[in-house]
């Protein structure tokens, strides 16, 4: 089985990597990564705004942000994909490509989750940080921008990266609306070969695993590196004699 899986991978590596590109739309791992990067990349600034609205003292900001977060968290991703898929063309009056539909869905979905991560990061900071910022005369937006958010986002970087990893896994659902990403490519191969589903989906599973595992490793490495920089040499002393 392993040998035939390797043979399938060797014959189809280009399809798995970039899909039909350049003769068709970009697909495969390239599309999966692009969906994830665009999804998280656009969701992140939005999630900061949603988080700020969630902790705002104005109800007019707090209520809709809270509603959005609860709604999105309480509905399966697949449901949101269908909603966006059928609703967007109606609202816009034009056809919306699958890729765009998927990016919009991911931005909506991930920004709700990320905003909770950012909010937790803000609320975990000691109240003294905001006190100090205000005592020095900083306005609330300034305090957020220069003092609170840099710390909150730094502290939450590992969670944000792990959210990125789950976004990569979430892109598989693009399959149901024919977005030519990695799962779609594997399914194409499977349909062509007909008799090798285990081998094909073994390749698929391994590919996702390699991508996601290396990203979590990267996150861990990054976390240690930045923590070391912040803690500084004074704290690298391994064990003080007692």
């Amino acid at each position: 089985m392993l040998a035939s899986a390797l043979a399938i991978a060797r014959d189809n590596w280009l399809l798995l990597l970039v899909g039909q590109y350049p003769n068709g739309p970009l697909g495969g791992i390239a599309a999966t990564l692009m969906l994830s990067v665009l999804g998280i990349g656009l969701a992140f600034p939005l999630s900061v705004l949603v988080a700020l609205a969630r902790i705002s003292r104005w109800r007019a900001l707090r209520a809709p942000a809270t509603a959005l977060v609860y709604l999105v968290r309480g509905v399966p991703l697949l449901m949101i994909i269908f909603w966006v898929y059928f609703l967007f063309p109606l609202l816009l009056g034009t056809e919306v490509p699958g890729f765009t539909t998927m990016v919009c869905t991911l931005v909506l979905y991930e920004s709700a989750f990320l905003s909770e991560v950012v909010r937790a990061g803000i609320e975990a900071l000691p109240a003294g940080q905001m006190d100090a910022a205000r005592a020095l005369g900083h306005s609330y937006p300034q305090a957020m921008r220069f003092i609170i958010l840099p710390q909150a986002i730094y502290n939450m970087a590992p969670s944000i990266l792990s959210q990125f990893v789950s976004t990569i896994k979430d892109t598989t659902l693009g399959y149901v609306i024919n977005v030519p990403e990695l799962t779609f490519a594997a399914s194409q191969i499977n349909n062509r070969l007909l008799t090798k589903p285990f081998e094909v989906f073994l390749i698929l599973a391994l590919t996702y695993y390699v991508v996601c595992f290396s990203l979590t490793q990267l996150a861990t490495w990054l976390e240690r590196r930045v923590a070391r920089r912040r803690a500084g040499p004074a704290l690298v002393v391994v064990a003080a004699p007692s």
């Binding site: 005592a135 020095l136 004074a234």
Partner: protein, 244 residues
């Protein structure tokens, strides 16, 4: 410089501040002491409106701190009141130098180069020029508190408030922080300082306010207060301190 007029503050039914009528003159150093829970920290935090009050007025340099005002006015007012916290509250993501540069640069719009020069000379003044590029976690408590004092001074405030500046410090670091505060007092800075360091109060204060249960029970020169306290609660407080 700082004037309390009939200030009251409640937490539910509990009166944290009761009928405070006192003032701190320009260049005066006032030490606020009293048992814990007496309202000292709350009192000092009302001066820059980190705490709200329920009635009365607090004037800072002639300006009513608790009047209705726009956010920008309050920010400007706060930028003119130096505040030093018990727990330092340095910004851990910035180096000591950047902690001191940030607010003059962003709040007072001082150019970066100028803010940096001034920050360096302030760090020098508190004896930490060599540690300018260290992050707060790399500094001892005493060093962190000295950076926090430099950070407050960078706004060139006409008055400084200290909220138990040495209570979170190991005993051997108290002296270095008090020395910096003493230096400020000698330079004529108007100061209000909540502290349990009675020998410091005796040396530096022009007047001592004694608080208990939200009231200022006694005020006087350090010599009078420590030599012959009038109020029985103050007598008991001082004898408790001495027997410790």
């Amino acid at each position: 410089m700082i004037e309390f007029r009939a200030v009251n503050k409640m937490y539910g039914d509990y009166q944290v501040l009761a009928d405070i009528n006192e003032s701190v003159g320009r260049g005066e150093v006032v030490v606020v002491c009293g048992p814990s829970g007496s309202g000292k920290s709350t009192l000092i935090r009302t001066v820059n409106r980190l705490e709200e009050i329920h009635s009365g007025d607090i004037l800072f340099d002639g300006q009513n701190v608790h009047a209705r005002m726009r956010g920008t006015q309050l920010n400007h007012l706060r930028s003119r009141i130096g505040f030093v916290f018990q727990s330092f509250n340095l910004f851990p993501h910035l180096s000591a130098l950047d902690n001191v540069i940030l607010s003059p640069h962003r709040v007072n719009r001082v150019g970066r180069a100028e803010a940096r020069d001034r920050a360096m000379s302030l760090l020098e003044r508190v004896g930490l020029a060599a540690r300018a590029h260290a992050y707060p976690t790399q500094l001892s408590g005493g060093q962190q508190q000295r950076v926090a004092i430099a950070r407050a001074l960078a706004m060139e405030p006409p008055a400084m408030l200290f909220d138990e500046p040495t209570s979170a410090l190991d005993p051997e670091m108290v002296g270095e922080v008090l020395a910096v505060i003493r230096g400020l007092a000698n330079d004529g800075m108007t100061m209000m300082c909540v502290t349990h360091e009675m020998s410091f109060a005796r040396d530096v204060a022009d007047r001592v306010w004694f608080m208990d249960a939200g009231r200022i029970l006694e005020t006087g020169t350090p010599a009078a207060f420590f030599g012959a306290p009038q109020h029985p609660r103050a007598q008991r407080f001082l004898s408790d301190l001495r027997s410790r």
